[in-house]
């Protein structure tokens, strides 16, 4: 009996550890910040173009097809880390990407695209950060998945990478395409 008492701390610890492990193992990704915008229509927007050769972005442009909307800035370090991957998405033509250039100098943003390549269908300038506030952007880079009715289906905070895209975004895209076809 006395010996059993000494097992108490161990049992208590095991129970606690299971509770610690549950949220992680269930795949509840703590990086997902609750977004009030999921399943909602995108807010109104009308952004001037960044480049002379490409149009700006308005609400109509973001409707009608499944696509990614990516908030980026030339002054943002992690944007640089994800840029390479955005270029690869563009090249593989998996899904079109629309860029919203957040609180940036026009020349700096142009130089950045010239330097690293331009993965975007269209680019709009969010000069004062107003659009980002409407979308509930937490910090650049941030990427939204929009369905063809213009509803936000997924939001990723922070730089995109191949593994995040494969695990989190690809399945949603596939599900959405199935719905459309079925």
């Amino acid at each position: 009996m006395r010996k059993l008492i000494y097992l108490g701390p161990l049992l208590f610890f095991i129970i606690t550890a299971v509770y610690f492990a549950l949220p992680i193992l269930k795949g509840k990704d703590p990086r997902i910040l609750p977004s009030a915008m999921i399943e909602k229509n995108i807010p109104d927007l009308n952004l001037p173009p960044l480049l002379e050769t490409k149009q700006g972005i308005d609400k109509q442009a973001l409707m009608g097809e499944i696509q990614l909307v990516n908030f980026f800035s030339s002054w943002c370090g992690p944007c640089r880390t994800e840029h390479d991957f955005l270029m690869r998405i563009n090249k593989s033509e998996i899904i079109p990407i629309y860029g919203i250039n957040y609180k940036d100098k026009q020349n700096a943003a142009k130089a950045w695209l010239l330097d690293l390549g331009d993965p975007y269908e269209r680019i709009g300038r969010d000069i004062d950060g107003r659009t980002a506030i409407d979308w509930g952007v937490y910090g650049v880079p941030e990427t939204y998945l929009i369905d063809k009715h213009g509803r936000i289906q997924y939001r990723h905070v922070g730089p995109l990478s191949e593994s995040i895209f494969k695990e989190k975004i690809s399945p949603v895209i596939k599900a959405l395409r199935k719905q459309t076809n079925g």
Binding site: R2, K3, Y6, L7, P9, L10, F13, I14, T16, A17, Y19, F20, A21, L22, P23, I24, L25, G27, D29, P30, R31, W75, C76, G77, P78, R80, T81, K103, G129, G139
Partner: protein
């Protein structure tokens, strides 16, 4: 090149730690002195290798080498030098390097100064310590390598979170880690003792200085953090019961219990298995803090580098070490010899009560912190537990503890005389009563809770002072005799007296601030006035200026009392363009009895600015009290009985002397 050198040093440290984990442990089992002897040079080499890695990362920060991802994401070329350096540990990867550096530092210290440790115990302690190192070095190299490169390198970095660019916070994490990681030493000693199957007073004497050092650092770290939150966050509060604050508070509570129970092991050879358990749990709580901050299972303003993969890895470390230690505890502890017996009313009995109450306090904080997690996992409901819960559960546990603190030190070892102790407490009663009357007279038409708080603080101070006075025979003997007794008193006695007085001062500050804090929010244009707690504050002007890596608006606020000029204060609102983040720099006018706290909000010349003012009575006492506790700890640590390497025989003699003194 230097970053690669750091990376290489880290790999080397991992290999050394592997050797240090295995060889001495095997040597101790076979009683082979040459194998056990590997521990000491290995601990030194491991420390040097990690120091090189830490130096390499610091170099990358100081020279703004943005080809290192970690630097690019957390630093900026315009940042002042102090924050370039503190940026090293202002992020997940760098902070883990600091973590293992301190871990290795403690191992190194035991290797260097533990000359008088029995060789098998020393070998085992160092090998357990190194195994923790292996786990965390592996963690860094596999999931959180700070030396990864970025190609092409950006022109400038993303800057450190502006809230962290502050002198108070520059030193908060290192102190906190010294505390957290310091408890690893107690853990290593506990596990080594379980392997040996032997705990004796000498063991406790070796454990105590390490635990005390960790406790001092943790106290200082928590104090710095709370002070920072007070003046930087601009909310006027000093403790929020945030999960991450709680994560540092829990090891503090159980570490405090450990500190006291180790005394019982040392002096009376009792409470052995309990002390071992406390040592394991204290380090478990420290590890849990590390886990909670980084896994994101709890939402907190402090959480950083949240990543499930890393969370899982740290959880695995936690399970391996704490689970392993607890299994060993379950197997070995029941067969440990029971030590000296004692009556319930005795110094030991008092310390057992102290331990019980501190454990209950730890448990309440534990439940409050993790309840949202348990509820979410079982029912999917999301709740947050806030200050009301902690005030309702934690404070009632503290009241008997404080009552006990005045009585306990007056009880004799083994068998105490409660009525004799009570009769010595008249001074505590008198002081407690006097202060309550005074407080009641000051605030007669307000709730009685602060009166109770002050009564407790007075009781504690009175009991502590009386106990000290009795010890040196003050007012009983001639003054010269008392003074010579005071000189001969062991430093640990001074340490205890100071630490308990510090707590009393802290209680006054905490009670006064929560009961009588006043707040005024106004929209002020230049030359507008307001008054708070007898002070008059006038906004003189607001100027736009440029800082090194931020823009700022600085207000000039004149404070007057009864129409007479007292001082000018300059609250600021800063904007850091790189992180697009505003911060507030509150201005504080402090007398020893209260703070006038001014914080500048948004606004413009035409619209006026939001100005928040707080009057925080006795709030400086909170940090003063904590600093006195730290000072008490430091004085106690300098006691030659605890001084590392003090020969065992001398120490033994001192204990006897001390016992005689106490009985006299």
């Amino acid at each position: 090149m230097i970053a690669e050198l750091g990376h290489y040093a880290l790999v080397l440290a991992l290999l050394i730690a592997l050797v240090q984990t295995t060889v001495p442990l095997y040597g101790a089992a076979r009683n082979d002195f040459s194998l056990m002897g590997v521990a000491q040079p290995a601990a030194t080499a491991q420390f040097i290798a990690i120091a090189i890695a830490f130096g390499a990362l610091t170099h990358a920060y100081v020279t703004s080498d943005f080809s290192v991802i970690n630097v690019a994401e957390n630093s900026h070329s315009l940042k002042p030098l102090l924050y370039k350096i503190s940026g090293v540990w202002g992020n997940h990867e760098g902070s883990m390097i600091l973590w293992v550096l301190i871990l290795a530092l403690f191992g190194f210290a035991v290797a260097q100064f533990g000359i008088h440790l029995p060789p098998t115990l020393k070998a085992r302690v160092l090998s357990v310590q190194a195994s923790i190192g292996v786990a965390f070095l592996g963690f860094i190299l596999l999931t959180s390598n700070p030396f990864l490169r970025l190609d092409p390198a950006p022109i400038d970095g993303r800057d450190l979170n502006p809230l962290l660019q502050d002198p108070g916070l520059a030193f908060h994490p290192p102190m906190l880690y010294l505390g957290y990681v310091g408890f690893s030493m107690a853990f290593s000693f506990a596990v080594a003792a379980l392997i040996e199957g032997r705990v004796d007073p000498a063991w406790a004497r070796w454990v105590r200085p390490w635990t005390l050092a960790a406790w001092i650092a943790l106290t200082a770290g928590i104090t710095l953090g709370s002070w920072w939150a007070y003046y930087e966050l601009g909310w006027g509060g000093w403790w929020y019961w945030d999960p991450v604050e709680n994560a540092s508070f829990m090891p503090w509570l159980s570490g405090t219990a450990l500190l006291h129970s180790a005394v019982v092991v040392e002096k009376r050879d009792a409470l052995k298995s309990w002390t071992i358990l406390l040592a394991i749990l204290t380090f478990a709580l420290s590890l849990m803090g590390t886990f909670l901050v980084r896994s994101g299972v709890l939402t907190s303003v402090h959480a950083f580098a949240v990543d499930p993969e890393r969370g899982l890895y740290i959880l695995a470390i936690l399970v391996l070490f704490v689970g392993g230690a607890l299994i060993m505890f379950a197997l070995r502890a029941p067969s440990m010899k029971l030590g000296g017996l004692f009556q319930p009313i005795s110094r030991e009995g008092g310390l057992v009560m102290n331990n019980l109450l501190l454990s209950v306090a730890t448990a309440t904080v534990f439940i409050g912190t993790l309840y949202p997690l348990f509820l979410d996992a079982t029912t999917g409901q999301k709740v947050s537990v806030g200050p009301p819960f902690f005030n309702a559960t934690f404070v009632p546990v503290m009241i008997p503890l404080v009552l006990l603190m005045a009585v306990g030190p007056m009880l004799a070892w083994k068998r105490g005389d409660l009525s004799a102790a009570m009769s010595r407490l008249w001074f505590a009663v008198a002081l407690s009563f006097g202060i309550s009357i005074f407080v009641f007279w000051l605030h007669s038409n307000e709730p009685l809770t602060p009166v109770i708080g002050f009564a407790l603080a007075g009781w504690l101070a009175g009991g502590t002072l009386k106990e000290f006075a009795d010890r040196i025979g003050l007012f009983r003997d001639r003054l010269s005799k008392s003074l010579s007794k005071a000189r001969r008193l062991p430093r640990s006695a001074y340490g205890m007296t100071l630490a308990h007085l510090g707590l009393s001062i802290f209680i006054c500050g905490a009670v006064a601030d929560s009961a009588w804090r006043t707040e005024v929010v106004i929209n002020a244009k230049e030359r507008d006035k307001t008054s708070i707690a007898g002070f008059e504050a006038q906004l003189e002007s607001v100027n736009r200026l440029e800082g090194p890596n931020y823009h700022l608006e600085r207000a000039t606020v004149v404070i007057r009392k009864n129409g007479e000029y007292v001082t000018r204060v300059f609250p600021e609102r800063r904007f850091y363009p790189v992180q697009q983040m505003p911060t507030t720099e509150a201005a504080i006018y402090t007398t020893l009895l209260a703070d006038v706290y001014v914080s500048l909000g948004e606004g413009s010349k035409d619209q006026g600015w939001t100005l928040r003012l707080w009057y925080n009575p006795l709030i400086p006492w909170i940090w003063t009290g904590c600093l006195i506790m730290v000072l008490g700890g430091l004085i106690s640590l300098s006691d030659r009985r605890l001084r590392i390497g003090a020969p065992f025989k001398r120490a033994h003699k001192k204990v006897q002397e001390n016992g005689l003194l106490e009985n006299a």
